[in-house]
Subunit: 248 residues, 2 copies
């Protein structure tokens, strides 16, 4: 089964969620990153108005959510499941960082359904739940306070899944839109104009112009001036020139 | 100023937040990744019990949060500010992905305070707010629904900042060649001085200053002005001011 996007093959499974607001916020986090398959194992309250409110424009994901009464049903037809856990010593599985796990999940999701499992807000996943999964995932965090909110953890993982997908298609981040750059000639004209105004105003000693003009050149060189900016600066120089009008 | 961790030099600035729950969730998101400096520009409700509840064990960050009545006060002594925006065509600054921006911010934060700015839940940052920053940041997202919850966006950025730090620990960044950078406060002083000279010389209509000043802000934002350059430019402005001397 090769879906339109591998992300369509990644399901988010929330086990025993207490606060319906977190379910809504999870739906929103998923949708912003292009995920859509939500499974809920024994949620305490669902459906719920708080979930709807926090979902914002991702209510379609709540409406399509599958509610299951046990984990086996939720993971049923997946081929790889990853368990989100806090850092602990007693884990039975290899522990992946969020970024590593996302790359692994996306790679598999090109071919078949995979799952990412999140536990209770208070206590995370039980050892029994983790044992249903093939790998565990940890979000690198502050060792003194590593307790991410449930939906915030979903947001980070969904973001890493999207990033893993974008990187794997080697789609470079689009080049920033560039306004029309000034020509070197235009920039030379600006420097000459600036030097004249500096001299006319008494700011620059014409006998010793080197250092100051070199500083200004360096500043404008870093800037990569645009055509329109050169025009604005020259307009300003003309306006403040004590001996205006300046003829270029 | 080299703090214990570069993350201590990264401040999160929330502008005009409507929902106090998002402020609390932001504090939690920050603390899980080791960030601690929170600035609030005109929050609608703060302090607030909903903020406290959502902060969970990160109330210390709420208690230490700085509340400011304008953006300049919040960014005052930082040296680099990045604006979180949705993808748009009309942005004046180079757009970085979350990951690129995190690397850039952490590198600078080794040396001086930097800021990451988030706008209103409904409408994001205004063009005027963005013009205070040197770069814009976009979290890669679903083009059909890219509206992350505010605290979820903070969580992703805080996570990327931590990841950038962890990655840069193994391969230490060479200290960027840094002539002493101008503080945002010094740059604000320059903009104010420039505006005055523009008005005195008749170049700028004080009734319609917006567009031209925004262009100048954008130009100097790209430049990353140095302290000495600000001094040179202000010296020049003083010399050409038709109504000099200028008092700052």
């Amino acid at each position: 089964m090769n879906p339109a996007s591998p992300l369509d093959n990644v399901r988010i499974v929330l086990s025993h969620t207490s606060h319906p607001g977190n379910i809504g916020a999870t739906a929103r986090a998923m949708k912003t990153m292009g995920l859509s398959k939500l499974y809920l194992v024994n949620p305490k309250f669902f459906p719920d108005s708080e979930a709807d409110a926090r979902a914002s424009n991702a209510r379609d994901i709540l409406e399509a959510a599958q509610v299951c009464d046990n984990l086996t049903a939720a993971l049923g037809d997946t081929f790889l499941a990853a368990a989100l856990t806090a850092r602990r010593r007693d884990l039975p599985h290899p522990a992946y960082s969020a970024r590593q796990a996302a790359a692994e999940l996306v790679q598999h999701a090109r071919h078949y359904p995979v799952a990412l499992l999140f536990g209770r807000e208070s206590a995370g996943l039980t050892a029994a739940e983790i044992s249903h999964c093939q790998l565990t995932v940890q979000i690198p965090a502050n060792p003194d306070y590593s307790s991410l909110n449930l939906a915030a953890a979903v947001q980070v993982m969904a973001y890493e899944l999207r990033m893993a997908l974008e990187e794997s298609v080697t789609e470079p981040y689009p080049a920033p839109h560039l306004p029309e750059a000034a020509s070197l000639q235009e920039i030379e004209g600006l420097h000459h104009h600036l030097e004249q105004v500096m001299i006319h105003s008494g700011f620059l000693d014409p006998e010793q112009p080197k250092h100051l003009m070199r500083r200004m050149r360096r500043l404008f060189a870093r800037t990569r001036l645009e055509k329109e900016e050169v025009n604005i600066l020259r307009g300003l120089l003309a306006a403040v020139d004590p001996r205006r009008p300046f003829k270029s």
